[in-house]
Each structure stands twice: as structure tokens, then as C-alpha cells.
């Protein structure tokens, strides 16, 4: 591996950018592939799979063998709402290896006593989220139930590459949310990205069970292909 390649991998990681490295097993020659421009690459299908699953793999193309090394940033869950469900969600998300950030402008909810050792922002979503950034390795989970707080976050999330957007609320609540989003100019395709009611249908009742159903849905969004088969 060339020192420049190694430096580029390290720089990508520091900047929370994904990186793809293709190494020829026969002679050790290598190339970095821009994840945003892999469609035209001869190994496009393999590269896309590696990027989606985060799994490195040895692949064959003609007579040659190549190792695709994928480096993805840790997944991040941006939780809007410092509520009871979020308190249950934090330790579970950590077990899964995900980083969690909590945003809630209501200072009675967003307290360090309720959320020890978690990055906690007692600010309005539209003020802080652009600064925090939402990339394709960020899941956005809306839990306040309050359109004043959830909607501004949703607007930003729908314009981002986020791999998962979920919003708490009944079907009725979501129908009203859809009306507001349509009035704000969002397309049906864009609105369809929202998982609502949030979480897998496991009959969850307690905050911890709801957190589990949300994390299950996030895992499915990460690991399954759009047709539901294993990636």
C-alpha cells in the first residue's frame, strides 16, 4: 500500500467519509474509488454491496482477484426528543455499536441527569441539526410527538442522505404530518422515506420495547436490500 493511499484512508475516516480501496491480489496495485462515483466502475456491483453492508470482500473479475476494502464511519442515531423512549434507546444503541445524539429544546427534558454521557443539545432542531450534519450513516428518529419540534427536524432529514428516518405517532398523527409535509412542498416519494408509525410491529408497549422495535427497524434498513432479502 502506498503511503498516500494510507493517508487518504485515514483522512476519510477523520472526516466521517466512506472510503473504498481496491487491491489487486496478483501484484498489490491499488486504487481508491470515490463512493459517489462508483456506477461507472468495472466492479460497480461488488463495490455497491460492500458500501451498503460495510463488509470488505475478495472478488473475482475475469481471471483476476481483487480485495475490496470498505471503511465506513460508525453509525449515528440522531434522536429528536429527550423522552422516556430515548432513555431506553441509548444503552441499547451502544450495545449495537452506534453513537447517539439527543436534541430537544425543552430544557426540562434535555437534562444531563436523564442522559448521562450522551451528547445532548437543548436547542431547536433547525438551529443545531445543520451544524451536526446528517450523512448516509446517520439515522434520524423523531420522538417528541410535537410538530413544532419534530417537523423542522423532518424537513432537514428529508433533504439529507440519511439511511433511516422514523417518526413516532399513530397512523392518524402521521396522516396529519403527511398533509403538513405536502403543504410544505415535499413529494410523495420523499414523504414515503419516513417510517411511521415508527418501529417494527412487535406489539411494543413499554418505552424499552418501543426502543427495541426502532433499533430493529434501523438494523433492517441497514442490512436488508430494498426487496427485503439479505444484502
Amino acid at each position: 500500500m502506498k503511503l498516500e493511499t494510507l493517508a487518504a484512508l485515514n483522512a476519510a475516516r477523520r472526516a466521517r467519509r466512506a472510503a473504498l480501496l481496491v487491491t489487486s491480489i496478483a501484484d498489490g496495485t491499488e486504487r481508491l474509488v470515490d463512493p459517489a462515483a462508483l456506477a461507472t466502475d468495472p466492479l460497480a456491483a461488488h463495490l455497491d454491496l460492500a458500501l451498503r453492508t460495510g463488509k470488505s470482500a475478495l472478488v473475482e473479475e475475469g481471471d483476476a482477484q481483487y480485495f475490496i476494502s470498505v471503511q465506513t464511519p460508525p453509525l449515528r442515531i440522531l434522536c429528536v426528543g429527550a423522552v422516556h423512549i430515548s432513555q431506553a434507546l441509548v444503552p441499547m444503541a451502544r450495545q449495537l455499536g452506534h453513537d447517539v445524539i439527543i436534541v430537544d429544546p425543552r430544557t426540562a427534558f434535555a437534562t444531563p441527569e436523564r442522559f448521562p454521557d450522551v451528547p445532548l443539545y437543548a436547542e431547536w432542531p433547525d438551529a443545531i441539526i445543520p451544524e451536526l450534519g446528517i450523512d448516509r450513516y446517520t439515522a434520524v428518529v423523531l420522538l417528541t410527538h410535537d410538530p413544532k419540534i419534530d417537523d423542522p427536524a423532518l424537513h432537514i432529514a428529508l433533504r439529507s442522505d440519511s439511511f433511516y428516518i422514523g417518526a413516532l405517532g399513530s397512523r392518524k398523527t402521521h396522516a396529519k404530518r403527511v398533509e403538513r409535509l405536502e403543504a410544505a412542498g415535499f413529494s410523495a416519494e420523499s414523504i414515503a422515506r419516513i417510517h411511521a408509525p415508527i418501529g417494527l410491529n412487535i406489539g411494543a408497549v413499554s418505552p424499552a420495547e418501543i426502543a427495541l422495535s426502532i433499533l430493529g427497524e434501523i438494523t433492517a434498513s441497514l442490512r436488508l436490500k430494498p426487496d427485503g432479502s439479505r444484502a
Binding site: M1, K2, L6, N10, R13, T23, K55, L58, F67
Partner: protein
């Protein structure tokens, strides 16, 4: 790759910039119950110091020896370890799995 493996690449870069000879060994293929997944790395310097793991301890010694060869020759190589392999009886994987490791020099 997660934090652990990532720190290893950061160390590889630091070592090389400090003028040390460095090789990187990467697990590129596994069969059966291999202890470390594809993509796991070991970074080795010219004096045999190493960081990371490719097998959780079973074959690191042999990989370090291969890495010193690669540092000397400059040519990358693919090495395999497993129960079916003659040398692996001495340094093999107790779990019965097999792994292929790609060893290359940082130039």
C-alpha cells in the same frame, strides 16, 4: 472496520512517517469458524513489533515472519493458514477454520 482496526491504520501511517519500515496484513478470505472477520488487520514494523490481529493470536507469529520477508523484498504476497495446510499444523487455527491473509509493504 470499526474503531479498533481504524486506529491500526492511523498507527501504520505514523510509523511510516517516522521512518520505520511497515507492512500491513489483511484478512481477505475466511472459511469455517475463523476468529476474525474479513478486513481485520495487523500492522508490523521492520523489527517485528505489531498492532491489531488477524486471528486472535493463533497465527500472528507466522504472519509477522511473512511480513518481515515482504518488507525485505517489497513484493506483496497472499498466505493461507488452516488445518489442511502443512505449516498450519504448527501454527494453525485451533478452531479448525482457514484464513487467507494478504501481506503488503507500505511504500
Amino acid at each position: 472496520m470499526r474503531a479498533n482496526d481504524e486506529d491500526i491504520l492511523a498507527s501504520a501511517e505514523e510509523w511510516r512517517r517516522a521512518g520505520r519500515d511497515v507492512a500491513i496484513a489483511t484478512v481477505v478470505e475466511t472459511w469455517g469458524s475463523a476468529p476474525r472477520p474479513v478486513g481485520s488487520r495487523l500492522v508490523i514494523d521492520g523489527e517485528g513489533n505489531f498492532l491489531g490481529s488477524v486471528s486472535g493470536g493463533c497465527v500472528e507469529g507466522a504472519v509477522v515472519t511473512e511480513a518481515l520477508d515482504v518488507i525485505e523484498s517489497g513484493a506483496a504476497k497472499l498466505v493461507s493458514f488452516g488445518v489442511a495446510d502443512e505449516t498450519a499444523w504448527q501454527v494453525g487455527l485451533s478452531c479448525g477454520g482457514r484464513i487467507s491473509v494478504f501481506v503488503e509493504k507500505v511504500a
